[in-house]
């Protein structure tokens, strides 16, 4: 149900690990739960990110939801286009809907993320 080549968090972010660069977005499950995405507020290139500290916010009509980094590090790229055209995220959450790229500080954090199967189990239990 979820792409096997990605890692996941319990807070519904996905991560694509390529060397020490991690591309981050939100899962299709998150998109379906949030429904009406209106704005996405993201940090800036150069921002230092720590685990459990929000890197941005997704605004839907009814509520704002924090976005969390799956790994700690520095933002190297921000996908500015999605900030307003949030339907890109809804249509292609794992591809064109990517949000930020992070240069990892601690590669050992990768193993702490969930696999596709673990993420699916996490959703079923919540």
């Amino acid at each position: 149900m979820f792409p096997e080549d990605l890692h996941y968090t319990e807070t519904h972010e996905w991560a694509r690990v390529e060397g020490d660069i991690v591309t981050v977005g939100i899962t299709k499950y998150a998109v379906e739960q949030l429904k009406d995405l209106v704005y996405i507020e993201l940090g800036r290139v150069g921002d230092e990110l720590d685990l459990h500290v929000p890197l941005g916010v997704v605004e839907s009509v009814k509520a704002a939801s924090d976005l969390y980094p799956p790994v700690s590090g520095v933002i190297t790229e921000v996908h500015d286009a999605v900030a307003e055209k949030t339907d890109i995220v809804a249509k292609d959450p794992y591809g064109e809907g990517w949000l930020v790229k992070i240069k990892m500080r601690d590669p050992s954090e990768v193993k702490d993320m969930l696999s596709a199967a673990e993420y699916e189990k996490h959703i079923k239990m919540s």
Partner: protein, 376 residues
């Protein structure tokens, strides 16, 4: 998910349409069927139907019913005729609002439509203030269903099912007739700023009326879009723009304060009208890609000057917008203030309500005053 919640007669219809059901005041109600913004736009450009069966519906009977109500609302009811709908509110001794309501004057009784969340409080309020008068209050909420049909195509759709008289109603009138042969009460009222109707039928007939309107192309609309629509029209919501600690004059409802009777709270309401309000209800649009929500603070020159009462995305405007109370001296349309969102100030521009142009039809013209001969 919604076990233990009260169900309207349309609960099965919502499930069939795969609505996201939520707990609204103890009722299982549809928040949305798909996308809130799509539902909102459907009402602004075509027609939408809302299940509003959860709203409280009371019938006041008895010889003293008009006098009884006149002591509890700040709106003049003396000239109300059968077929009139009157927007009003129950007020407290201190000049606050217990609930905002619509009053439907019939020959034999007076019907009230009240907020679902306040139905019990209103019934208690009426019982407390009976004072031995010849009135009885009958709760019709469970016996009836209610569907709002709203949008530029609402009248055309309605007229396929009911006599042409419905289409000739002014805003804030009602008639009693049939919908596909089923007895209904239809008012030309609504909570969207569009032309539209609210149809009351027996609980048993509600599903058939709903299905007929769906078949005509009316889109099912949930509470999510109901809120964005009413906010664009700057229509107040109890618990946000209205409450027991809010004077109707502050909330911009002085136009409904017309009674010559000695109603509860009159002294305090008239005092505020005389002395001026300390805070005023304003409408605002946000610059930038951000939404401000209820309880966000307005600030100016580092000082808190107000609070947001309702705020969300306004699909017709394409930006965040809302309403709130601001210190009267700073509450002018065109003024700019900051709203604090996630600890950062965001620029807000105050706007003269409504945020979006309304398309409701005209109200019944008032009869010309006949006293004194006029200007001839």
């Amino acid at each position: 998910m919604t076990d233990g919640l009260r169900k309207t007669p349309l609960n099965d219809a919502h499930r069939r349409l795969k609505a996201t059901l939520v707990d609204f005041g103890g009722w299982g109600m549809p928040m949305q069927y798909g996308n809130i913004v799509d539902e909102h736009r459907a009402v602004r450009t075509g027609a939408g139907i809302f299940d509003v069966s959860h709203m409280g519906r009371l019938a006041i009977e008895g010889a003293d019913r008009l006098g009884f109500l006149s002591r509890l609302v700040p709106t003049n009811l003396e000239k109300a005729e059968p077929g009139d709908v009157v927007y009003s509110m129950f007020t407290t001794e201190g000049g606050g609002v217990v609930d905002d309501i619509t009053i439907l004057v019939r020959a034999d009784d007076i019907r009230l439509v009240v907020n679902a969340s306040n139905a019990a409080a209103v019934k208690d309020w009426l019982a407390e203030h009976r004072d031995g008068m010849d009135v009885a209050v009958r709760d019709e909420t469970e016996a009836k269903g209610m569907i709002a049909l709203q949008g530029p195509l609402a009248a055309a759709i309605l007229l396929r099912h009911t006599a042409a008289a419905a289409g000739r109603m002014f805003f804030f009138q009602f008639i009693e007739g049939t919908f596909d042969g089923r007895p209904v009460l239809i008012s030309r009222t609504g909570y969207t700023g569009e032309d539209g109707f609210e149809i009351i039928m027996s609980a048993a007939d509600a599903p058939a009326v709903w299905d007929a309107l769906l078949a005509d192309g009316a889109a099912p609309i949930g509470l999510g879009a109901r809120d964005t629509l009413r906010m664009e029209a700057c229509l107040p919501l109890y618990g946000h723009e209205l409450g027991r600690d809010i004077n109707p004059i502050e909330a911009g409802l002085g136009w409904a304060v017309t009674s010559k009777a000695d109603y509860l709270g009159r002294a305090q309401i008239e005092k505020v009208r005389r002395d001026g309000v300390a805070r005023k209800l304003v409408a605002f649009r946000l610059e930038g890609r951000v939404l401000a929500r209820k309880d966000a603070e307005f600030v100016k020159d580092g000082r808190k000057v107000g609070v947001v009462t309702s705020g969300t995305f306004a699909p017709s405007l394409g930006c965040g917008a809302g309403m709130g109370f601001v210190e009267a001296a700073l509450a002018a349309p065109g003024a700019t203030l900051d709203v604090v969102v996630r600890e950062r100030p965001c620029r807000a521009v105050l706007v003269k309500p409504p945020l979006v142009t309304k398309h409701t039809v005209a109200r019944k013209p008032k009869p010309a005053a006949s006293v004194g001969g006029g200007r001839g």
